[in-house]
């Protein structure tokens, strides 16, 4: 018989799904009173959690929401109208100069200096770095909100 006990994680796995465990672990737990008791505690816990009454809203979500969906479908919201105008404006700002100066666009980058290329690359790298730091900070903040500090 294996002298060292399975880890807590392995005991949990055993309690969740005995068949997914290795034969050595199954044999150990079957023959070790301490581990069997641990596994049975987890099994008791899991079955008790599964039998807990599921949380439910104390109002009819569908009845509350469906009339709102009907009206929101019929009406074009002001936000969408503004967003639509902005998209058209930005596209026009890009498309019109590109169309008017299309002949000169090809020569735009031909005489560019090495210094300028490095400056563009460095700026891009700095922006990406800042974005990455921001994302990491946001992730950490969310985890802290959820009590993982």
């Amino acid at each position: 018989m294996n002298i060292s006990h399975p880890s807590e994680k392995e005991i949990q796995e055993f309690a969740l799904d005995r068949d997914s465990c290795s034969p050595a672990i199954i044999a150990h737990i079957d023959n070790c009173m301490h581990c069997r008791e641990e596994a049975s505690t987890y099994q008791l816990l899991f079955s008790a959690i599964a039998q807990q009454p599921a949380p439910a809203f104390d109002f009819d979500v569908a009845a509350l929401l469906l009339p709102q969906l009907e009206t929101s479908r019929r009406r074009l919201s002001p936000d969408r109208i503004v967003a639509g105008f902005l998209v058209v404006f930005v596209c026009s700002c890009v498309a019109i100069p590109v169309y008017l100066f299309r002949k000169y666009l090809l020569y735009m980058f031909s005489d560019i200096s090495t210094f300028f290329i490095y400056a563009i690359l460095c700026s891009a790298a700095i922006i990406i770095l800042f974005k990455a730091i921001n994302m990491y900070k946001k992730y950490q903040r969310q985890m802290r909100f959820l009590n993982f500090n």
């Binding site: 807590e8 008790a48 807990q52 109002f59 569908a62 709102q68 929101s72 909100f145 009590n147």
Partner: protein, 201 residues
């Protein structure tokens, strides 16, 4: 466990109906996912009055973005992800640090002393009382866990979601979800055993 992929014909049929303008089909989606969404909202939003607005907000977002649903996961998983992210945004907006043991404290006011050490569960009424008290104790201890642990425990053990689905909902890697769930179960077991004797449970 459920199949976590999005190749579900029923989901496709419902989504098609909603996109064709049949809002009653969205009512079916709401009914199908209500418990799941409630499970997430109840664990992450401690302010009872805010839960109604949150539920509406989640389903409105789902409705308006349904055309962008790519069937890369099950529809329920996608809606659960919207629910999870909406709750996180709410917490962030309110600058709220969620204490693990504040939620619905009054609802679970059973003290450890009130648990009888030996339950001679003979009659049906005694059995029902035992089940009810066990349920209250467990609920209290689950609500004492950190909110993410509560959410993971609820979704895995009550909603029978897989690690992969939990990973899709929370945006955390599979290994992290497994590790958090392991710690959550261990913490829950230790909290229960430290307060109540196993025989009492």
């Amino acid at each position: 466990m459920n199949n976590p992929t999005g190749n579900n014909p029923a989901d496709r049929h419902l989504v098609d109906r909603v996109l064709r303008g049949d809002t009653r089909a969205f009512g079916i989606i709401i009914k199908d996912t209500e418990c799941l969404v409630a499970g997430i909202v109840f664990k992450l939003i401690p302010v009872v009055e805010e839960r109604k607005d949150m539920a509406q907000d989640i389903y409105l977002k789902a409705f308006h973005n349904l055309a962008g649903f790519k069937f890369q996961s099950k529809l329920s998983t996608w809606i659960a992800r919207i629910a999870y992210n909406s709750c996180l945004s709410w917490i962030e907006k309110k600058k709220l640090i969620l204490p693990g043991n504040l939620q619905d404290e009054d609802a679970y006011s059973l003290s450890p002393d009130s648990v009888h050490p030996r339950y001679a569960v003979s009659s049906d009424s005694e059995r029902q009382l035992f089940q009810k008290e066990l349920s209250v104790i467990l609920n209290k201890e689950i609500n004492g866990l950190p909110p993410l642990y509560q959410t993971l425990i609820t979704l895995y053990h009550q909603e029978s979601m897989s690690y992969e689905e939990l990973s899709q909902i929370t945006g955390l890697p599979d290994g992290t979800v497994k590790s958090y769930l392991f710690r959550a179960r261990k913490m829950l077991k230790e909290n229960l055993l430290s307060k109540y004797k196993k025989e009492a449970l």
